[in-house]
């Protein structure tokens, strides 16, 4: 398994339906954003069906609201919307070894959100994570059925880019778990089952295996 460390100044992960007037950001990226990052690194659209497993942990230093000018397609007038932005971000991706080369030399620019949220690969390392029980989980999303408390929301898992516009292949209710900032949050976000544990960043990693087949 490799761990890819990606850094960015800004990031924004839009909710599926909150678009107009104010665009809040999810505290961590949904799986569809991870699909986008993997596709950019490899240089072609990637489906999770091709990847035996994937996991991720996201941390951000803070958040703020930015004013943005919107240019409507085919119109001269502009509008201003408020967009929430995450700052000083780190994303750890846990992937099979064969992904190392793609992240050593990504084919396209990596983004944590939109085209202005540019990201860089800081390191790619081989890691061996130990399996543990009762470890805190955070900086990721987990299925709502996991029993962990957090922000529950419907999120797309993967998009099919063979058509324009793209189409959702799958969407599910997930629990969004920000990276825990103190012991109380760690305690609340402790998962009773078995999980891989990254001792360097002190967090359990929720791994998705064989994300979906014939949907």
């Amino acid at each position: 398994m490799i761990r890819v460390k990606i850094k960015s100044w800004t990031a924004s992960f839009r909710y599926p339906t909150f678009q107009s007037g104010y665009q809040p950001t999810l505290p961590v990226p949904p799986l569809s954003t991870i699909q986008g990052i993997l596709s950019a690194a490899r240089g072609e659209v990637v489906s999770f069906t091709e990847i035996p497993f994937v996991g991720y942990v996201f941390k951000s230093g803070g958040r703020g609201v930015d004013l943005e000018r919107i240019y409507a397609l085919g119109k001269t007038e502009t509008d201003v919307i408020k967009r929430e932005v995450l700052f000083d971000n780190t994303l750890y991706l846990y992937l099979p070894d064969e992904w190392e080369n793609y992240f050593r030399r990504p084919r396209y620019q990596l983004l944590l959100g939109r085209s202005s949220d540019m990201a860089t690969v800081e390191s790619v390392e081989k890691v061996k994570l130990e399996e543990k029980t009762n470890v805190p989980v955070g900086g990721t999303i987990v299925p709502a059925t996991s029993g962990l408390p957090g922000l529950v929301h419907a999120l797309p898992v993967e998009f099919d880019y063979s058509t324009i516009p793209r189409r959702a292949r799958m969407a599910r209710p997930f629990t969004v778990l920000p990276f825990p900032r103190n012991n109380a949050q760690r305690k609340r976000q402790t998962y009773g089952g078995k999980l891989l544990y990254d001792s360097e960043i002190n967090i359990g990693v929720w791994i998705y295996e064989g994300l979906h087949g014939k949907v």
Partner: protein, 481 residues
């Protein structure tokens, strides 16, 4: 390797009995489902029948056809220019319960559609997108408008890919939303909790035929925390909130404005507020009362709670400490007991139980020392801790207490060297945050134990100082910086 196989979960979900509706995780869709369940008097989507749906349609259509709902609420705050609910002002003459019910019925019929050429719903991922209508904010709140296609991926002129199931349910969301100055939808998980927190909205509608005003509350977080207290006291247990997820969506969506406040209530905070309401409701009330600029008297509390922003609530929602609200430094008394403080420290601040016991023990040693002093000296020592605004002043306090112990002939030292380091770092390694937390805990303990004596000396001071104000204390060596 550990992990989750969503394929297996997905197929298990699909083999469940073919229920009409299901939870999606989207607040507006789930809210619509809650409304239909509450109207039917049921708790699970799989128990709903076609008759239940028809009952909900006629219930909603009857209301939505009235001017109060249509123009002011549906069009003005949730679904601007809605054709489905006929809220567009230009439809005033055609609007009737029958025509609205027909519109809703026609979307419900679409649930049977299996158009495999359509894209999959971006919210539930289970059904084809509804294609009889472009999906903009008039159909689903807070989406973009048709006038700005670049709100949608690839500038999709059809709007968002949302299926008939999710569009249909969203139309019922107004029935369990609360109407404050904006619209409040309480999204909660597990869903039994959402039913509990939303039922008042529907009960109010049944009474008055108008959208629930949330008992006159003007701030969504105040209303939610009030509800948490009520539900906890009713259940006679705070365990109801164990692993609960609650998020408030406080929005307005009309032709002029689309505003959204998304307020997630951290679970440790939920559990603490519930526990506080369960074991010491009066103490919790005193803590909350300190969150307003002016301390309300007994009769004004409810009014303040309904109308005014409260700093205690805001700090809880922003993951900021409320330790200093556990005591009233002016009156030198505690607002609650050590048990509730300990629960807050462990549950919300994440303080270790052993550390907390250690701080409490140090507090007791300080009380043992200064308790031997005459009233005016006791007052001086407590005041020096109250006024410690810098780390060196805080450290100096302990040194003075140690000297006092020696002068008073008390056997053991106040602390060992290691304990001194431990007390400064008790709340994490960031000493600049940690020592202030410890200071609040120590003050709480001192006030709890010595309140009567401190009040007596405060009374004496008042007589002696002829109303000297705070700033004058520095002249007498209080050292305000």
């Amino acid at each position: 390797m550990s992990g989750v196989n969503l394929t297996r979960e997905q197929s298990e979900k699909r083999t469940q009995s073919g229920s009409l509706f299901y939870w999606t995780g989207h607040p507006f869709v789930d809210a619509g489902l809650v409304a239909i369940l509450l109207i039917a008097g049921k708790k699970k989507p799989e128990d709903l029948t076609v008759e239940d749906v028809e009952k909900a349609i006629s219930f909603a259509a009857e209301l939505y056809a009235t001017k109060e709902w249509s123009t002011k609420y549906i069009h003005g705050m949730i679904f601007p220019n809605s054709g489905i609910l006929m809220a567009n002002p230009s439809m005033g003459k055609k609007r009737s319960p029958t025509s609205i019910a027909e519109n809703l019925q026609s979307i419900f019929e679409e649930l049977k559609s299996s158009d495999n050429d359509s894209p999959t719903c971006v919210l539930c991922g289970r059904r084809p997108a509804y294609s009889k209508k472009d999906i903009y904010l008039s159909v689903f709140p807070l989406l973009g408008t048709g006038g700005v296609p670049n709100f949608f991926h690839s500038a999709n002129l059809r709007g968002a890919d949302i299926c008939a199931h999710c569009v249909f349910l969203a139309q019922f969301m107004p029935l369990i939303s609360y109407r404050l100055s904006r619209v409040l939808v309480i999204h909660a998980y597990p869903y039994e909790l959402m039913l509990e927190l939303s039922k008042e909205a529907l009960e109010d509608i049944k009474k008055s035929k108008l959208a629930s005003q949330a008992r006159g509350f003007r701030r969504p977080e105040n209303f939610l925390f009030h509800l948490v207290g009520e539900v906890t006291r009713k259940m006679e247990s705070s365990e109801f909130w164990e692993n609960a997820s609650v998020t408030l969506y406080y929005f307005i969506c009309n032709n002029q404005n689309q505003i959204l406040d998304l307020i997630h209530i951290p679970t440790p905070v939920l559990r603490f507020v519930a526990y506080a309401n369960y074991i010491d409701p009066m103490g919790w009330k005193r803590i909350v009362a300190m969150g307003w600029r002016v301390l309300p008297d007994e009769n004004d509390f409810d009014k303040f709670e309904r109308e005014r922003r409260n700093v205690v609530y805001s700090r809880l929602l922003n993951n900021e400490s409320i330790l200093s609200y556990f005591y009233n430094s002016k009156e030198r008394k505690v607002n609650t007991n050590w048990n509730l403080l300990a629960f807050y420290c462990q549950e919300v601040l994440g303080l270790d139980e052993k550390i907390l016991e250690f701080v409490k023990d140090v507090g007791d040693r300080i009380v043992e020392t200064i308790g031997m002093l005459p009233d005016h000296k006791l007052d001086d020592e407590v005041r020096s801790l109250e006024r410690a605004e810098k780390l060196y002043q805080f450290e100096a306090f302990f040194i003075r207490i140690e000297k006092l112990r020696q002068n008073l002939g008390i056997d053991k030292p106040l602390m060992t060297f290691d304990e001194f380091a431990r007390i400064l770092m008790a709340y994490g390694e960031d000493v600049s945050i940690s020592w202030k937390t410890v200071k609040n805990l120590l003050l709480f303990r001192i006030y709890e134990k010595l309140h009567d004596r401190l009040m007596k000396s405060a009374e004496l001071d008042k007589i002696e100082e002829f109303g000297a104000d705070e700033s004058e204390y520095s002249i007498y060596g209080g050292g305000n910086e």
